[in-house]
Symmetry: C2
Subunit: 230 residues, 2 copies
Protein backbone atom coordinates (compact mmCIF):
# COMPACT_ATOMS: atom_id res chain seq x y z
CA UNK A 1 0.00 0.00 0.00
CA UNK A 2 1.81 3.03 -1.19
CA UNK A 3 0.18 6.16 -2.30
CA UNK A 4 -2.30 8.68 -1.31
CA UNK A 5 -3.27 9.29 2.21
CA UNK A 6 -5.65 7.06 4.02
CA UNK A 7 -9.11 7.55 2.49
CA UNK A 8 -11.71 9.93 3.88
CA UNK A 9 -14.29 8.34 6.17
CA UNK A 10 -17.08 8.51 3.63
CA UNK A 11 -15.07 6.55 1.08
CA UNK A 12 -14.48 3.61 3.33
CA UNK A 13 -16.33 0.36 2.95
CA UNK A 14 -17.78 -1.55 5.86
CA UNK A 15 -15.99 -4.83 6.59
CA UNK A 16 -17.73 -7.94 7.83
CA UNK A 17 -16.88 -11.56 8.50
CA UNK A 18 -19.09 -14.49 7.46
CA UNK A 19 -18.47 -18.00 8.67
CA UNK A 20 -19.36 -21.31 7.04
CA UNK A 21 -19.39 -23.83 9.90
CA UNK A 22 -19.54 -27.44 8.82
CA UNK A 23 -20.37 -30.48 10.85
CA UNK A 24 -21.30 -34.08 10.16
CA UNK A 25 -24.53 -35.06 11.88
CA UNK A 26 -27.38 -37.43 11.16
CA UNK A 27 -25.32 -39.06 8.40
CA UNK A 28 -25.15 -35.78 6.55
CA UNK A 29 -22.79 -32.89 6.00
CA UNK A 30 -24.44 -29.80 7.41
CA UNK A 31 -23.77 -26.11 7.65
CA UNK A 32 -24.86 -23.71 10.35
CA UNK A 33 -27.30 -21.01 9.21
CA UNK A 34 -29.15 -18.19 10.91
CA UNK A 35 -32.50 -16.84 9.79
CA UNK A 36 -32.35 -13.09 9.30
CA UNK A 37 -34.70 -11.18 11.53
CA UNK A 38 -33.94 -7.79 9.99
CA UNK A 39 -33.82 -6.48 6.45
CA UNK A 40 -32.28 -6.76 3.99
CA UNK A 41 -33.25 -10.35 3.16
CA UNK A 42 -35.46 -10.61 6.23
CA UNK A 43 -36.60 -14.17 6.71
CA UNK A 44 -33.90 -15.67 4.51
CA UNK A 45 -31.22 -17.94 5.84
CA UNK A 46 -27.69 -16.58 5.97
CA UNK A 47 -24.25 -17.51 7.18
CA UNK A 48 -23.53 -16.30 10.70
CA UNK A 49 -21.39 -13.19 10.67
CA UNK A 50 -21.29 -9.48 11.26
CA UNK A 51 -19.19 -6.37 11.18
CA UNK A 52 -15.63 -6.18 12.38
CA UNK A 53 -15.03 -3.91 15.36
CA UNK A 54 -12.40 -1.21 15.39
CA UNK A 55 -9.91 -2.92 17.68
CA UNK A 56 -10.33 -6.63 16.95
CA UNK A 57 -8.51 -8.82 14.47
CA UNK A 58 -10.44 -10.58 11.72
CA UNK A 59 -10.06 -13.97 13.41
CA UNK A 60 -11.31 -12.53 16.68
CA UNK A 61 -14.29 -11.00 14.91
CA UNK A 62 -15.18 -14.35 13.38
CA UNK A 63 -15.00 -16.17 16.71
CA UNK A 64 -16.97 -13.49 18.48
CA UNK A 65 -19.76 -13.43 15.90
CA UNK A 66 -20.03 -17.17 15.93
CA UNK A 67 -20.33 -17.29 19.66
CA UNK A 68 -22.74 -14.37 19.90
CA UNK A 69 -25.07 -15.57 17.22
CA UNK A 70 -25.01 -19.31 17.56
CA UNK A 71 -23.29 -20.08 20.86
CA UNK A 72 -20.76 -22.19 19.00
CA UNK A 73 -17.15 -21.93 20.23
CA UNK A 74 -13.89 -23.86 20.16
CA UNK A 75 -14.09 -24.33 16.44
CA UNK A 76 -11.36 -24.98 13.96
CA UNK A 77 -11.31 -21.71 12.04
CA UNK A 78 -9.51 -20.77 8.87
CA UNK A 79 -9.75 -17.74 6.63
CA UNK A 80 -11.27 -18.63 3.28
CA UNK A 81 -11.56 -15.76 0.84
CA UNK A 82 -12.56 -12.11 0.77
CA UNK A 83 -15.63 -11.18 -1.21
CA UNK A 84 -15.62 -7.57 -2.25
CA UNK A 85 -17.93 -6.97 -5.19
CA UNK A 86 -19.19 -3.39 -5.02
CA UNK A 87 -22.89 -4.40 -5.10
CA UNK A 88 -23.01 -7.44 -2.88
CA UNK A 89 -24.95 -5.71 -0.09
CA UNK A 90 -27.92 -3.44 -0.83
CA UNK A 91 -27.08 -1.24 2.16
CA UNK A 92 -23.81 -0.06 0.64
CA UNK A 93 -20.29 -1.22 0.09
CA UNK A 94 -19.58 -4.15 2.35
CA UNK A 95 -16.45 -6.23 2.00
CA UNK A 96 -16.77 -9.62 3.62
CA UNK A 97 -13.92 -11.78 4.83
CA UNK A 98 -15.28 -15.31 4.68
CA UNK A 99 -14.19 -18.01 7.10
CA UNK A 100 -14.44 -21.72 7.02
CA UNK A 101 -14.97 -23.64 10.26
CA UNK A 102 -15.33 -27.23 11.42
CA UNK A 103 -16.89 -28.58 14.60
CA UNK A 104 -17.56 -32.01 15.97
CA UNK A 105 -20.90 -33.58 15.13
CA UNK A 106 -22.06 -33.51 18.73
CA UNK A 107 -21.67 -29.72 19.07
CA UNK A 108 -25.01 -28.09 19.80
CA UNK A 109 -25.90 -24.74 18.28
CA UNK A 110 -28.52 -22.47 19.64
CA UNK A 111 -29.71 -18.97 19.27
CA UNK A 112 -27.59 -16.88 21.57
CA UNK A 113 -27.64 -13.12 22.20
CA UNK A 114 -30.20 -12.33 19.56
CA UNK A 115 -32.65 -15.14 20.15
CA UNK A 116 -32.78 -15.71 16.45
CA UNK A 117 -33.47 -18.96 14.74
CA UNK A 118 -30.38 -21.10 14.15
CA UNK A 119 -30.20 -24.46 12.40
CA UNK A 120 -27.95 -27.04 10.79
CA UNK A 121 -28.87 -27.44 7.12
CA UNK A 122 -27.71 -30.27 4.87
CA UNK A 123 -25.32 -28.71 2.36
CA UNK A 124 -26.75 -30.84 -0.42
CA UNK A 125 -30.20 -29.30 -0.06
CA UNK A 126 -30.13 -25.70 1.00
CA UNK A 127 -32.78 -23.00 0.99
CA UNK A 128 -32.16 -19.79 -0.92
CA UNK A 129 -29.59 -17.77 0.96
CA UNK A 130 -29.20 -14.06 1.63
CA UNK A 131 -26.60 -11.87 -0.11
CA UNK A 132 -23.97 -13.83 -2.05
CA UNK A 133 -23.84 -16.46 0.67
CA UNK A 134 -24.64 -19.27 -1.73
CA UNK A 135 -21.45 -18.43 -3.61
CA UNK A 136 -19.44 -18.25 -0.40
CA UNK A 137 -20.80 -21.59 0.70
CA UNK A 138 -20.05 -23.27 -2.61
CA UNK A 139 -16.51 -22.07 -2.32
CA UNK A 140 -16.23 -23.18 1.30
CA UNK A 141 -17.60 -26.62 0.57
CA UNK A 142 -15.15 -27.10 -2.26
CA UNK A 143 -12.33 -26.08 0.05
CA UNK A 144 -13.51 -28.56 2.64
CA UNK A 145 -13.45 -31.49 0.21
CA UNK A 146 -10.09 -30.36 -1.01
CA UNK A 147 -8.47 -29.98 2.39
CA UNK A 148 -9.84 -33.27 3.56
CA UNK A 149 -7.80 -34.96 0.87
CA UNK A 150 -4.44 -33.44 1.56
CA UNK A 151 -4.48 -32.36 5.19
CA UNK A 152 -5.71 -33.82 8.42
CA UNK A 153 -8.37 -31.21 9.23
CA UNK A 154 -10.90 -34.03 9.02
CA UNK A 155 -10.33 -34.76 12.69
CA UNK A 156 -11.93 -31.45 13.55
CA UNK A 157 -15.24 -33.00 12.53
CA UNK A 158 -15.06 -35.52 15.36
CA UNK A 159 -15.10 -35.35 19.15
CA UNK A 160 -11.88 -35.87 21.12
CA UNK A 161 -12.18 -39.62 21.11
CA UNK A 162 -13.60 -41.58 18.24
CA UNK A 163 -13.53 -44.97 16.61
CA UNK A 164 -11.95 -45.62 13.25
CA UNK A 165 -15.36 -46.47 11.82
CA UNK A 166 -16.71 -43.09 12.91
CA UNK A 167 -13.73 -41.41 11.29
CA UNK A 168 -14.17 -43.34 8.07
CA UNK A 169 -17.86 -42.55 8.02
CA UNK A 170 -17.16 -38.80 8.37
CA UNK A 171 -14.75 -38.96 5.45
CA UNK A 172 -17.25 -40.86 3.34
CA UNK A 173 -20.03 -38.39 4.08
CA UNK A 174 -17.96 -35.36 3.19
CA UNK A 175 -16.35 -36.87 0.12
CA UNK A 176 -19.56 -38.53 -1.01
CA UNK A 177 -17.79 -41.77 -1.78
CA UNK A 178 -17.25 -45.17 -0.16
CA UNK A 179 -13.77 -45.98 1.10
CA UNK A 180 -12.12 -49.35 1.57
CA UNK A 181 -12.01 -50.22 5.25
CA UNK A 182 -8.67 -51.99 5.29
CA UNK A 183 -6.86 -49.42 3.19
CA UNK A 184 -8.36 -46.57 5.19
CA UNK A 185 -7.29 -47.99 8.51
CA UNK A 186 -3.84 -48.90 7.34
CA UNK A 187 -3.11 -45.48 5.93
CA UNK A 188 -4.51 -43.54 8.86
CA UNK A 189 -2.57 -45.63 11.35
CA UNK A 190 0.66 -45.62 9.36
CA UNK A 191 0.55 -41.83 9.13
CA UNK A 192 1.13 -41.81 12.87
CA UNK A 193 -1.27 -39.02 13.69
CA UNK A 194 -3.55 -41.08 15.88
CA UNK A 195 -2.91 -42.25 19.43
CA UNK A 196 -4.65 -45.38 20.57
CA UNK A 197 -6.38 -45.13 23.93
CA UNK A 198 -6.91 -48.23 26.00
CA UNK A 199 -10.63 -47.82 26.09
CA UNK A 200 -13.34 -49.19 23.88
CA UNK A 201 -16.73 -47.95 22.97
CA UNK A 202 -19.69 -50.27 23.02
CA UNK A 203 -21.78 -49.46 20.00
CA UNK A 204 -25.39 -48.34 20.14
CA UNK A 205 -26.72 -51.65 19.00
CA UNK A 206 -24.86 -54.91 18.95
CA UNK A 207 -21.46 -55.86 17.74
CA UNK A 208 -17.94 -55.87 19.00
CA UNK A 209 -16.91 -52.70 20.87
CA UNK A 210 -14.49 -50.52 18.95
CA UNK A 211 -11.19 -49.16 20.12
CA UNK A 212 -11.14 -45.41 20.75
CA UNK A 213 -8.44 -43.19 19.29
CA UNK A 214 -7.53 -39.58 19.66
CA UNK A 215 -5.82 -37.20 17.32
CA UNK A 216 -2.26 -36.30 18.28
CA UNK A 217 -2.25 -32.52 18.43
CA UNK A 218 1.48 -32.32 17.90
CA UNK A 219 1.19 -34.27 14.66
CA UNK A 220 1.86 -32.41 11.43
CA UNK A 221 -1.46 -31.06 10.20
CA UNK A 222 -0.37 -31.25 6.64
CA UNK A 223 0.75 -34.46 5.08
CA UNK A 224 3.92 -34.02 3.09
CA UNK A 225 2.56 -33.85 -0.41
CA UNK A 226 4.46 -35.59 -3.08
CA UNK A 227 4.76 -33.42 -6.10
CA UNK A 228 1.78 -33.62 -8.42
CA UNK A 229 3.08 -31.35 -11.08
CA UNK A 230 5.18 -31.53 -13.11
Amino acid sequence: MMYGDIPALDERPAVSVDIAVFSVRAQDLRVLLVRRAAPPFRGRWALPGGFVRAAESLDDAARRQLQDETDVRDVYLEQLYTFGGPRRDPRGRVISVAYFALVAGNTPAQAAASGDEVAWHPVRSLPELAFDHAEILTYAWQRLRYKLEYTSVGFELLPNEFTLSELQSAYEIVLGEQLDKRNFRRRILESGILAETNRNRAGEGQGRPARLYRYKKDAPTEVKARRLFP
Copy 2:
Protein backbone atom coordinates in the same frame (compact mmCIF):
# COMPACT_ATOMS: atom_id res chain seq x y z
CA MET B 1 -23.47 -11.05 8.22
CA MET B 2 -26.49 -10.75 10.35
CA TYR B 3 -26.91 -8.27 13.08
CA GLY B 4 -26.73 -4.63 13.77
CA ASP B 5 -26.97 -2.05 11.16
CA ILE B 6 -24.10 -1.18 8.94
CA PRO B 7 -21.45 0.54 11.08
CA ALA B 8 -21.14 4.30 11.43
CA LEU B 9 -18.58 5.91 9.15
CA ASP B 10 -16.09 6.55 11.90
CA GLU B 11 -16.00 2.89 12.86
CA ARG B 12 -15.06 1.67 9.44
CA PRO B 13 -11.57 0.52 8.58
CA ALA B 14 -9.80 1.55 5.41
CA VAL B 15 -9.31 -1.31 2.94
CA SER B 16 -6.27 -1.66 0.72
CA VAL B 17 -4.84 -4.21 -1.68
CA ASP B 18 -1.17 -5.22 -1.74
CA ILE B 19 0.30 -7.29 -4.53
CA ALA B 20 3.26 -9.65 -4.47
CA VAL B 21 4.34 -9.91 -8.12
CA PHE B 22 6.84 -12.67 -8.83
CA SER B 23 9.02 -13.16 -11.83
CA VAL B 24 12.04 -15.25 -12.73
CA ARG B 25 14.87 -13.11 -14.11
CA ALA B 26 18.65 -13.26 -14.05
CA GLN B 27 18.48 -16.85 -12.79
CA ASP B 28 16.67 -15.69 -9.69
CA LEU B 29 13.16 -15.50 -8.30
CA ARG B 30 12.33 -11.85 -7.83
CA VAL B 31 9.51 -9.77 -6.44
CA LEU B 32 8.45 -6.29 -7.49
CA LEU B 33 8.88 -3.62 -4.84
CA VAL B 34 8.31 0.12 -4.69
CA ARG B 35 10.27 2.50 -2.51
CA ARG B 36 7.94 4.59 -0.37
CA ALA B 37 8.24 8.31 -1.00
CA ALA B 38 5.84 9.29 1.76
CA PRO B 39 5.52 8.43 5.43
CA PRO B 40 4.92 6.16 7.15
CA PHE B 41 8.01 4.05 6.39
CA ARG B 42 9.35 6.67 3.99
CA GLY B 43 12.34 5.28 2.12
CA ARG B 44 11.52 1.66 2.87
CA TRP B 45 10.60 -0.82 0.19
CA ALA B 46 7.02 -2.03 0.10
CA LEU B 47 4.71 -4.17 -1.99
CA PRO B 48 2.83 -2.19 -4.61
CA GLY B 49 -0.72 -1.48 -3.54
CA GLY B 50 -3.16 1.09 -2.34
CA PHE B 51 -6.67 1.79 -1.21
CA VAL B 52 -9.75 0.29 -2.77
CA ARG B 53 -12.10 2.78 -4.41
CA ALA B 54 -15.79 2.90 -3.64
CA ALA B 55 -17.06 1.35 -6.85
CA GLU B 56 -14.36 -1.10 -7.86
CA SER B 57 -14.01 -4.76 -7.05
CA LEU B 58 -10.98 -6.00 -5.15
CA ASP B 59 -9.50 -7.63 -8.24
CA ASP B 60 -9.95 -4.42 -10.21
CA ALA B 61 -8.29 -2.45 -7.45
CA ALA B 62 -5.29 -4.76 -7.51
CA ARG B 63 -4.89 -4.49 -11.28
CA ARG B 64 -5.29 -0.74 -11.22
CA GLN B 65 -2.74 -0.22 -8.45
CA LEU B 66 -0.25 -2.44 -10.17
CA GLN B 67 -0.57 -0.59 -13.43
CA ASP B 68 -0.54 2.86 -11.86
CA GLU B 69 2.47 2.27 -9.68
CA THR B 70 4.65 -0.02 -11.71
CA ASP B 71 3.24 -0.03 -15.24
CA VAL B 72 2.88 -3.80 -15.05
CA ARG B 73 -0.27 -5.24 -16.62
CA ASP B 74 -1.61 -8.50 -18.01
CA VAL B 75 -0.54 -10.42 -14.97
CA TYR B 76 -1.85 -13.65 -13.59
CA LEU B 77 -3.57 -12.47 -10.43
CA GLU B 78 -5.01 -14.44 -7.55
CA GLN B 79 -6.28 -13.39 -4.17
CA LEU B 80 -3.99 -14.60 -1.39
CA TYR B 81 -5.11 -13.71 2.10
CA THR B 82 -6.54 -10.79 4.03
CA PHE B 83 -4.38 -9.24 6.72
CA GLY B 84 -6.40 -7.38 9.27
CA GLY B 85 -4.48 -6.97 12.51
CA PRO B 86 -5.70 -3.83 14.26
CA ARG B 87 -2.22 -2.26 14.50
CA ARG B 88 -0.67 -3.11 11.17
CA ASP B 89 -0.68 0.49 9.89
CA PRO B 90 0.35 3.40 12.12
CA ARG B 91 -2.16 5.70 10.40
CA GLY B 92 -5.15 3.75 11.68
CA ARG B 93 -7.08 0.61 11.01
CA VAL B 94 -6.22 -0.65 7.56
CA ILE B 95 -7.32 -4.08 6.36
CA SER B 96 -5.29 -5.29 3.43
CA VAL B 97 -6.38 -7.85 0.90
CA ALA B 98 -3.14 -9.36 -0.38
CA TYR B 99 -2.76 -10.64 -3.92
CA PHE B 100 -0.28 -12.92 -5.51
CA ALA B 101 0.75 -12.32 -9.13
CA LEU B 102 3.02 -13.87 -11.73
CA VAL B 103 4.53 -12.31 -14.83
CA ALA B 104 6.94 -13.48 -17.49
CA GLY B 105 10.62 -12.84 -16.90
CA ASN B 106 10.87 -10.41 -19.77
CA THR B 107 8.20 -8.05 -18.40
CA PRO B 108 9.65 -4.63 -17.71
CA ALA B 109 8.55 -2.64 -14.68
CA GLN B 110 8.97 1.05 -14.36
CA ALA B 111 7.81 3.86 -12.22
CA ALA B 112 4.49 4.99 -13.62
CA ALA B 113 2.14 7.72 -12.40
CA SER B 114 4.09 8.55 -9.31
CA GLY B 115 7.60 8.54 -10.68
CA ASP B 116 8.66 6.49 -7.71
CA GLU B 117 11.47 4.01 -7.61
CA VAL B 118 10.48 0.49 -8.63
CA ALA B 119 12.70 -2.59 -8.69
CA TRP B 120 12.79 -6.38 -8.87
CA HIS B 121 14.37 -7.78 -5.70
CA PRO B 122 15.57 -11.34 -5.25
CA VAL B 123 13.20 -12.96 -2.77
CA ARG B 124 16.05 -14.76 -1.08
CA SER B 125 17.75 -11.49 -0.08
CA LEU B 126 15.31 -8.73 0.64
CA PRO B 127 15.72 -5.38 2.34
CA GLU B 128 13.60 -4.57 5.37
CA LEU B 129 10.06 -3.98 4.23
CA ALA B 130 7.39 -1.51 5.29
CA PHE B 131 4.33 -2.49 7.36
CA ASP B 132 3.82 -6.25 7.68
CA HIS B 133 4.86 -6.76 4.08
CA ALA B 134 7.60 -9.21 4.99
CA GLU B 135 4.94 -11.47 6.46
CA ILE B 136 2.72 -11.09 3.41
CA LEU B 137 5.63 -11.90 1.15
CA THR B 138 6.63 -14.98 3.12
CA TYR B 139 3.10 -16.23 2.80
CA ALA B 140 2.95 -15.43 -0.91
CA TRP B 141 6.23 -17.16 -1.61
CA GLN B 142 5.08 -20.27 0.19
CA ARG B 143 1.89 -20.25 -1.83
CA LEU B 144 3.89 -19.92 -5.04
CA ARG B 145 6.01 -22.98 -4.28
CA TYR B 146 2.94 -24.85 -3.29
CA LYS B 147 0.88 -24.01 -6.35
CA LEU B 148 3.75 -24.77 -8.65
CA GLU B 149 3.65 -28.35 -7.46
CA TYR B 150 0.00 -29.08 -7.96
CA THR B 151 -1.23 -26.65 -10.61
CA SER B 152 0.09 -25.34 -13.86
CA VAL B 153 0.43 -21.67 -12.87
CA GLY B 154 4.14 -22.04 -13.55
CA PHE B 155 3.56 -21.16 -17.19
CA GLU B 156 2.62 -17.66 -16.12
CA LEU B 157 6.31 -17.11 -15.36
CA LEU B 158 7.25 -17.54 -19.02
CA PRO B 159 6.58 -15.65 -22.22
CA ASN B 160 4.07 -17.01 -24.74
CA GLU B 161 6.58 -19.27 -26.39
CA PHE B 162 9.35 -21.01 -24.55
CA THR B 163 11.62 -24.00 -24.70
CA LEU B 164 11.34 -26.94 -22.36
CA SER B 165 14.73 -26.08 -20.90
CA GLU B 166 13.54 -22.60 -20.05
CA LEU B 167 10.47 -24.05 -18.41
CA GLN B 168 12.51 -26.52 -16.42
CA SER B 169 14.89 -23.81 -15.35
CA ALA B 170 12.01 -21.65 -14.08
CA TYR B 171 10.72 -24.56 -12.04
CA GLU B 172 14.16 -25.26 -10.62
CA ILE B 173 14.68 -21.64 -9.65
CA VAL B 174 11.37 -21.35 -7.84
CA LEU B 175 11.55 -24.72 -6.13
CA GLY B 176 15.24 -24.38 -5.35
CA GLU B 177 15.97 -27.91 -6.49
CA GLN B 178 17.35 -29.68 -9.56
CA LEU B 179 14.93 -31.72 -11.65
CA ASP B 180 15.62 -34.67 -13.89
CA LYS B 181 15.47 -33.59 -17.51
CA ARG B 182 13.95 -36.75 -18.94
CA ASN B 183 11.32 -37.17 -16.27
CA PHE B 184 10.44 -33.48 -16.44
CA ARG B 185 9.94 -33.51 -20.18
CA ARG B 186 8.01 -36.73 -20.20
CA ARG B 187 5.58 -35.63 -17.52
CA ILE B 188 5.01 -32.16 -18.95
CA LEU B 189 4.40 -33.51 -22.42
CA GLU B 190 2.19 -36.39 -21.26
CA SER B 191 0.02 -33.99 -19.31
CA GLY B 192 -1.05 -32.58 -22.67
CA ILE B 193 -1.03 -28.93 -21.65
CA LEU B 194 1.64 -27.87 -24.10
CA ALA B 195 1.28 -27.33 -27.82
CA GLU B 196 4.36 -27.78 -29.95
CA THR B 197 5.01 -25.00 -32.43
CA ASN B 198 6.99 -25.71 -35.57
CA ARG B 199 9.62 -23.16 -34.78
CA ASN B 200 12.91 -23.44 -32.97
CA ARG B 201 14.91 -21.01 -30.98
CA ALA B 202 18.63 -20.71 -31.58
CA GLY B 203 20.25 -20.28 -28.19
CA GLU B 204 22.39 -17.31 -27.22
CA GLY B 205 25.64 -19.19 -27.50
CA GLN B 206 26.19 -22.49 -29.19
CA GLY B 207 24.27 -25.69 -29.16
CA ARG B 208 21.35 -27.25 -30.88
CA PRO B 209 18.31 -24.97 -31.28
CA ALA B 210 15.38 -25.93 -29.09
CA ARG B 211 11.80 -26.50 -30.10
CA LEU B 212 9.38 -23.78 -28.95
CA TYR B 213 6.17 -24.67 -27.14
CA ARG B 214 3.19 -22.72 -25.96
CA TYR B 215 0.81 -23.32 -23.15
CA LYS B 216 -2.67 -24.46 -24.20
CA LYS B 217 -5.01 -21.95 -22.59
CA ASP B 218 -7.93 -24.33 -22.70
CA ALA B 219 -6.00 -26.92 -20.73
CA PRO B 220 -7.14 -27.61 -17.19
CA THR B 221 -5.19 -25.32 -14.88
CA GLU B 222 -5.35 -27.77 -12.07
CA VAL B 223 -4.01 -31.23 -12.36
CA LYS B 224 -6.40 -33.79 -10.98
CA ALA B 225 -4.90 -34.46 -7.61
CA ARG B 226 -4.83 -38.00 -6.44
CA ARG B 227 -5.83 -38.25 -2.86
CA LEU B 228 -3.00 -37.68 -0.43
CA PHE B 229 -4.93 -38.24 2.73
CA PRO B 230 -6.08 -40.54 4.07
